[in-house]
């Protein structure tokens, strides 16, 4: 799918400050956390403060993008927030985020849901609206504060963070050459309405779900663009842990150099809808003009969205310092123990709650 002339005008990310290690989580459950961390290729994961949620993370990420791009909020025609942890079941995240950046009332807004790929789905919708001339700029956000049940394998990876992308035609720092999706009905991971923690299909989550969709979608977009892995300087995958994207990259024929900047989960954990977008942001933080980027997102249920991008000359003068560059979030954080973590994440419930 093509959307002529559309690209990324600006972007911003937000990752909560706190970190916890697999070692510390394993200590509480009598599990070898160090081995667990090695298995998942996760050194630490981010933990949100009690007063942070998908709405605050989305707002902070978008404010950074607005400032970096020098965007007038009145030029924003759409705000879409993709997440599987919207604070309200009914009452949009997007309206609060739009109000908080001063873009209301003359715009359209909605929340998107598709497990971890709701943010990339939002990018595709914005591409269409911008290309058709219906709006000047569209905002696509992927953001989550996901949780694993205490003691569950997901507890070692589920973290919090988000990325905000402003799509438009001018001036763009990266052109989106094409996008392509691969979608099937695959029950690898779900959470029923009213349930606090998600359920997953165990080993079913790997081969028929993540790997099939990511590799098929990646192959598909390269086939229609007439490219091979050698044409890309950078590749970004959805990264539920640090191991899956490494293997997906190998299966598709990418090397470690190409995957280097797109990998963020080993240091901040799986930010779900934020994961591929924060990976892309880190690539853009380091990218040079003319470099080509392949992004393949994934959402359980299941589907993959791929994007083929080319960095433009505008990246040279683009403000990549306002807010927190992704590398800083990978390198720094405030490490907490399991007691503080349990308190922060509401795993301790006060009587009467």
């Amino acid at each position: 799918m093509k959307a002529e002339g559309v690209g990324i005008v600006s972007y911003g990310t937000y990752v909560p400050r706190y970190r916890i290690t697999p070692d510390e989580i394993g200590r509480v459950w009598g599990v070898d956390g160090v081995a667990m961390g090695k298995n998942l290729n996760i050194h630490s994961k981010s933990v949100p403060s009690p007063d942070e949620d998908t709405i605050t993370i989305s707002t902070e990420a978008l404010r950074v993008a607005m400032t970096r791009g020098g965007i007038d909020p009145r030029d924003i025609g759409a705000v879409y927030v993709g997440s599987e942890s919207h604070p309200y079941a009914v009452k949009p995240t997007a309206t609060i985020v739009a109000q908080a950046i001063g873009a209301t009332p003359n715009l359209t807004a909605a929340d998107f849901e598709f497990a971890c790929k709701a943010g990339t789905a939002a990018i595709q919708v914005c591409m269409g609206l911008v290309a058709s001339g219906m709006i000047k700029y569209g905002v696509a956000i992927g953001s989550d504060t996901s949780q694993g049940a205490p003691g569950d394998a997901l507890e070692y990876s589920a973290s919090a963070g988000g990325g905000a992308f402003i799509l438009g035609k001018d001036p763009i720092i990266a052109k989106i050459n094409a996008t392509q999706s691969y979608t099937t009905d695959t029950p690898d991971f779900w959470r029923r309405e009213g349930q606090r923690y998600p359920s997953h299909g165990g080993r079913f989550t790997g081969e028929p779900a993540y790997f099939r969709h990511v590799t098929e979608c990646g192959k598909g977009i390269m086939a229609s663009e007439g490219t091979t892995p050698a044409d890309y300087q950078h590749v970004v995958f959805h990264q539920p842990n640090g191991k899956f994207p490494q293997r997906a990259g190998k299966l598709l024929g990418f090397n470690e150099d190409q995957m280097r900047y797109g990998m963020v989960t080993p240091w901040i954990g799986n930010t779900y809808s934020g994961a591929a977008l924060i990976g892309l942001a880190n690539v853009l933080d380091h990218a040079k003009p003319t470099e080509r980027i392949l992004v393949v997102g994934y959402g359980s249920g299941a589907g993959s969205d791929a994007f083929d991008l080319t960095v433009t000359d505008n990246i040279t003068n683009f403000d990549r310092q306002t807010g927190t560059p992704v590398q800083q979030d990978l390198d720094h954080g405030m490490t907490i123990n399991y007691s503080i973590y349990a308190k922060f994440r509401g795993k301790i419930r006060l009587s009467g709650e």
Partner: protein, 141 residues
């Protein structure tokens, strides 16, 4: 606080909406309709301009709260500070993501968007500004 009352304060809590006196340039938060500095001359009446604080300021004074207010139980101990904004007004707000022993007067802070409180498990969630140390400010002690 009622849903309606909080909603009316959205501009101020979400976006730090303030007002500025065109005569003496003083900035007020919360916004005022008349400038107290110039009110003798009634010059500012109907002329106050809406503006937005940059969110940047510095810690003027602070205290560490150990006895949580309702809804803040999970955050104790936390730092509550008077923040002198770059534009002049003094705001009260929580300083987030900081060890109370790392805070001191004069540290640069910036406004950050956070959950302020939630009305129980089924009520509305209120959002607004709190403050965070500017990148690296704590490290420079």
């Amino acid at each position: 606080m009622t849903v309606a009352r909080f909603w009316r304060e959205t501009l101020r809590r979400y976006n730090l909406g303030a007002s500025k006196c065109p005569e003496c340039q003083a900035v007020f938060f919360p916004p005022r309709s008349v400038c107290p500095n110039c009110s003798v001359h009634r010059k500012s009446l109907t002329k106050m301009e809406a503006c937005q604080l940059s969110g940047r300021g510095e810690v003027y004074s602070y205290t560490t709260v150990h006895e949580a207010a309702d809804g803040f139980e999970m955050q104790v101990p936390y730092v509550l500070a008077l923040v002198k904004m770059a534009e002049g007004p003094m705001l009260t707000g929580q300083i987030v993501d900081v060890d109370p022993k790392d805070i001191r007067e004069g540290l640069p802070v910036r406004a950050t968007f956070r959950r302020l409180r939630a009305d129980g498990d089924d009520g509305v969630i209120h959002y607004g500004y709190k403050f965070a140390l500017e990148n690296g400010a704590a490290a420079k002690k």
